[in-house]
């Protein structure tokens, strides 16, 4: 610690401020933990997702077999996959309940409107990550789930047909669809999510926790 302090003077104080920041007593309550639980679920997803990506193969021919391989042959593979599966479910649930709490306590009101919007984007990102992850095992449920999602997007007025083609990677469902969903799931969406999370937390620190009702 002293070694680092000598080279980055003041870093200890910053670390202490971040780690030992006091919160108001009315937030010592399970309903105020839901956002943090969502974050923990996200971190679990990042870690287990990295490990799953080591063995997963995003092609229509190999995807299902590689997921079966992870489940049945890789040591602790079924555990890794189950954690990823369940943390995904919990992330959606916690995120939704966190939103309900913020709405119920009126915490979205001035001056925190921007953070409510950032949080809304995080909720949408969570749902889209869950949806894009759903297709990756490429079983019947995945495939038809993706088709439903694509058709739903396709029913949008004006931009629908365009969105459908972009998602399918062609005018019909094509092998490109899996690549697209995969790259969204493991690269694009997590990166955007992290950017929004940082903004979310910075705004909480700047604005403080909302007053009790």
């Amino acid at each position: 610690m002293k070694w680092i302090e000598e080279r980055l003077p003041g870093i200890g104080k910053v670390a202490k401020d971040v780690a030992e920041h006091p919160v108001p007593s009315h937030t010592l309550n399970v309903f105020y933990c839901l956002g943090g639980l969502t974050l923990i679920a996200f971190i679990v997803q990042v870690v287990t997702g990295v490990f799953l990506a080591m063995y997963y193969k995003p092609t229509p021919e190999a995807a299902y077999a590689s997921v079966q391989m992870i489940t049945n042959e890789v040591r602790f593979g079924s555990m890794m996959r189950s954690i990823h599966h369940w943390a995904a479910n919990f992330m959606v649930i916690f995120c939704f309940l966190h939103m309900l709490r913020v709405y119920y306590t009126g915490s979205f009101k001035k001056p925190r409107e921007m953070n409510w919007v950032a949080g809304s984007f995080l909720f949408i990102l969570t749902i889209v990550m869950a949806f894009t992850g759903y297709i990756l095992p490429y079983e019947q449920l995945s495939y038809w789930g993706a088709v439903i999602g694509v058709e739903t997007a396709g029913s949008l007025p004006v931009v629908g047909e365009m969105a459908k083609i972009m998602m399918q990677g062609g005018i019909t469902v094509s092998p490109e669809m899996l690549s697209r969903f995969y790259v969204l799931h493991v690269l694009v969406l997590p990166a955007i999510t992290i950017a929004f999370l940082v903004a979310h937390f910075v705004m909480i620190r700047v604005q403080g926790i909302s007053d009790p009702m």
Partner: protein, 150 residues
């Protein structure tokens, strides 16, 4: 008894050890997860490379096995031997003369290593004979080679 250790510090230490252990246990699982599963670690399947009845003494059959060139050869006693054609010096492919190998030598073109037709190092830099493959002869004379398990 040393009373300089406060109760808080003592209990903290007491909790720290199982906490570290609890945090380290998943690391062991992660290590096991990253290590390739057993199905990735199987030696290549045995391969049929020819029939013993098609070979005269010192005839050979070249083939590829386990991503490396290899050959089988029939000796004048009718034995079949098989080995990789990967030089034991620095891993170049050893050149095998065309046709019957009676009295001939295998030469590694990189640094002039010499092997006899049974894969024994006879000259130049190679320190050991060429790596042998296990050979099984089926009842109908088919020659089956496979990786020799240690």
């Amino acid at each position: 008894m040393d009373n300089n250790v406060s109760r808080r510090k003592f209990l903290g230490g007491l909790v720290a050890v199982p906490t570290m252990a609890a945090l380290a246990a998943p690391l062991a699982a992660v290590g096991a997860y990253i290590y390739p599963p057993d199905s990735f670690l199987q030696p290549p399947a045995p391969k049929k490379v020819g029939n013993i009845n098609d070979l005269k003494a010192w005839d050979y059959i070249p083939f590829g096995y386990n991503q490396a060139p290899a050959m089988v050869i029939k000796t004048d006693t009718g034995d079949i031997q098989s080995f990789y054609l990967k030089c034991t010096h620095l891993g170049c492919t050893v050149e095998v003369p065309e046709g019957n190998l009676d009295g001939k030598q295998l030469v590694c073109p990189c640094h002039g290593g010499y092997f006899d037709p049974l894969g024994n190092n006879t000259g130049g830099p190679p320190p050991t004979p060429l790596k042998q493959l296990a050979v099984t002869i089926e009842e109908n004379g088919d020659i089956i080679v496979e990786e020799r398990m240690a």
